[in-house]
């Protein structure tokens, strides 16, 4: 393969073409297959990683396969692991979703591999089984969950970044006097309904520092817990005040990003990975956007809920584990991070210790990095502190956010959902 360095930055389509050419030309090489979700970001990143890796490794062919994302994807991953038909490597969430895969029985432990020394301990803790096994290397950048906002709208109305929920609602009130939708909802893509709730977890921890442990142990009744009820109530407040865009019930993720970039909506509760999609579709508008965390009760305790990156795992059904480890070594290196940044831009910090970020990151990302510089101003999302996440959360939050039920009854319903998950995982304290 005679690709030059500048070619690396080209689109996913080129990378696919290059990789198929590689397959045609090599004979004695080992083939390693990687399964990723079919989001444009992941496909572009893994094709670019593949192309870059194969330049320096003649004897290993990486073959990228795609699968559906969301709950459909969870299903595919679980079934393929259980039936022993998982390809060598796969890209999947870290944290609670990993725990549902029964990692010690399905994945190869990487804790003794030399390249794991470069992976930051905070990341290792969310891809481990708690018994010493560590199973993945990060396949993307870290993210923050909060509110993407349109800075032009803020400028025109002379608004300040809110540091409490009350200030946030006051800003919404001011925006609602104009044509701009104060808050963008996109329940057409059901998963997006969860962000208000999940990204509020920093605030839960401020009120209740032991929440995650007590939650996992089954000691918390959510409908009676003040802190988590507030999280459930965020989306209810916004709905009841009528701050959502008119088509919030049917709009999709892409619709919401468009409305935000075009200034038709002011706030969009979202993870910062959306910056990549924005850079791709609305490159000129990204500098007009910014980011702040979901504000809580007190301006003094204002901080960010952090999402760990998804991870690449090595399946026990792999026939070429050694070759696959060579690829993992490459991903967990500075070279690997550079390929990712070149392909989709810098959307957040890498959890690989030798990797820095370029000086000019997009505005929303630099807004997020401010929170990461002060360790008291950020905390991991609940799914990285507890193996428990109920599968119906997105539907429950859509019901709360559409006025079908209130926060308290939603919390009650979620409690049952979580109890089912806890029993399925065999956790104590939930019977």
């Amino acid at each position: 393969m005679k690709t030059t360095k500048s070619l690396r930055t080209l689109s996913a389509a080129l990378a696919v073409a290059a990789s198929s050419a590689a397959v045609g030309s090599s004979h004695d090489s080992v083939e390693v297959t990687l399964l990723t979700d079919n989001s444009p970001n992941s496909v572009a990143v893994f094709n670019a990683l593949e192309a870059a890796f194969e330049q320096t490794h003649d004897n290993i062919d990486i073959n990228v396969e795609t699968r559906a994302g969301g709950t459909e994807g969870d299903n595919i991953v679980r079934t393929r692991l259980a039936t022993g038909t998982m390809p060598d490597l796969f890209f999947y969430n870290s944290g609670s979703l990993l725990q549902a895969l029964n990692p010690s029985r399905t994945l190869i432990d990487l804790s003794d591999e030399p390249f794991m020394e470069r992976v930051s301990p905070s990341f290792q803790s969310v891809v481990s089984d708690g018994k010493g096994g560590v199973y993945g290397v990060p396949g993307e950048a870290g993210m923050g969950g909060g509110i993407l906002y349109n800075r032009k709208v803020y400028e025109e109305l002379g608004l300040e970044i809110p540091r409490t929920w009350e200030e946030f609602m006051a800003n919404n009130e001011a925006i609602s006097e104009t044509d701009v939708a104060p808050v963008l909802g996109s329940f057409g893509a059901t998963w997006t309904s969860q962000i208000f709730f999940l990204a509020d977890f920093y605030n839960v921890l401020q009120q209740d520092p032991d929440f995650a442990e007590e939650f996992t142990a089954g000691n918390i009744e959510m409908s009676e817990n003040d802190a988590i009820l507030k999280s459930f109530g965020r989306i209810q407040d916004v709905y009841e005040a009528g701050y959502f865009n008119e088509d919030f019930a049917s709009a999709t993720y892409e619709d919401a990003l468009r409305m935000l970039a075009m200034g038709e909506g002011a706030h969009y509760p979202m993870l910062t990975f959306a910056v990549t999609a924005l850079l791709e579709s609305y490159p000129d508008a990204v500098e007009d956007l910014g980011f702040f965390s979901v504000p809580g009760d007190s301006a003094d305790a204002n901080g960010l809920t952090v999402w760990m990156p998804g991870s690449i795992y090595l399946s026990q059904s792999s026939e070429e584990p050694e070759a696959a480890k060579v690829f993992l070594d490459f991903v967990a290196s500075q070279e690997g991070c550079e390929v990712i940044v070149d392909t989709i831009g810098a959307s957040g910090p890498f959890l690989i210790e030798t990797c820095g970020l370029p000086d000019d990151v997009p505005q929303p990302v630099s807004d997020m990095l401010v929170y990461l510089q002060d360790s008291s101003r950020n905390a991991p999302a609940l799914e990285f502190l507890s193996p428990l996440k109920g599968p119906s959360l997105e539907q429950i939050l859509i019901e709360i956010g559409s006025g079908i039920r209130d926060a308290e009854s939603g919390a009650e319903l979620y409690q049952r959902d979580v109890r089912r998950q806890a029993r399925q995982l065999g956790l104590d304290g939930w019977n």
Partner: protein
């Protein structure tokens, strides 16, 4: 049924069971093996797994807990209620609309052949395709349907995004999708009614309305029963259209049994999901069997 029953009964009386007179019994073996492996074994395995908490890696026997869970969950129960709403409203809709179309398309109208094909056409289209298409058409803001309603000054409803409306919108599309087949069966039924009856009725001065209620409906009873049974069973176990259009949403408001079962499977609750399948099987059997028996009561 009864005719066959009687004949066998007679045969049994007149002659003792003589295996020699049948084909050799080992002819049954291949079919028996396939039936056992592909149907009986999975059926009984699923009955067992419905009584366990199952992760695909291991299972724990928990008795009837999954079933208790199913009937205690508000949204699982909602799925059950919606299944009945969907099953009964679509089968009734298909018969009523189908009957109207069948009468129209057996009467003497211009381009009858073409119109029959047009009515049948939706049956040929993939259900998922229909679902996605109507998703676009029924969009509350940009959809063609509401745009058309707006021209005549009607503010169209939020077809698929209103929790009260969603399941009925899907049912409407299901009627549209299935009415072609219903019409076809009903046309066959109507054609089998001899013209003499109508002639005699006309001579006696019966109005068209009377002819319809006193001749057409009673004499096409077998066809109506067939349509009702088929569409009821179809409606009760429906999945693809609901999944393509709403995924059970908004929230849980248009979930049916099959979509609830699928979601439990997606969530990795394999035991619970299997228990749901057992419930679905029993619901269909319990609802469909008496109705079939009732509808075929006088058909002798």
């Amino acid at each position: 049924m009864t005719l066959f029953g009687r004949r066998t009964a007679l045969a049994n009386q007149s002659r003792p069971l003589n295996l020699q007179s049948y084909y050799p019994l080992w002819f049954y073996v291949p079919a028996g093996v396939i039936y056992g492996l592909m149907f009986l074994l999975p059926t009984f395995a699923s009955l067992y797994f419905s009584l366990t908490r199952w992760t695909l890696f291991n299972q724990e026997f928990i008795g009837f807990e999954n079933f208790v869970e199913f009937f205690n969950e508000p949204f699982l129960l909602k799925g059950l209620v919606n299944t009945f709403i969907f099953g009964f409203s679509t089968s009734a809709g298909k018969v009523i609309v189908g009957m109207g179309l069948a009468v129209l398309l057996t009467s003497n109208i211009y381009m009858r052949g073409l119109l029959r094909s047009v009515v049948f056409f939706p049956v040929l289209v993939s259900t998922i395709g229909i679902g996605i298409t109507f998703n676009v058409l029924m969009d509350p803001q940009d959809g063609v349907i509401n745009a058309a309603l707006a021209i005549v000054g009607i503010d169209g409803p939020h077809w698929l995004t209103s929790p009260k409306m969603a399941i009925y919108s899907v049912a409407l599309v299901e009627i549209w999708r299935g009415v072609g087949l219903a019409t076809l069966i009903l046309i066959a039924g109507l054609m089998a009614i001899p013209d003499d009856f109508y002639e005699a009725a006309r001579l006696d001065g019966a109005s068209a309305w009377h002819q319809f209620w006193r001749i057409t409906v009673p004499l096409s009873r077998p066809a109506i029963a067939t349509v009702l049974t088929l569409s009821l069973i179809d409606g009760l176990r429906t999945f693809d259209l609901v999944w393509a259009m709403t995924r059970g949403g908004p929230g849980f408001s248009s979930d049916v049994l099959a979509s609830v079962i699928y979601k439990q499977y997606q969530a990795g609750f394999y035991g619970l999901s299997t228990a749901g399948n057992v419930i679905l099987f029993m619901v269909i059997a319990l609802v469909a069997l008496p109705i079939v028996a009732f509808l075929n009561r006088e058909e002798r």
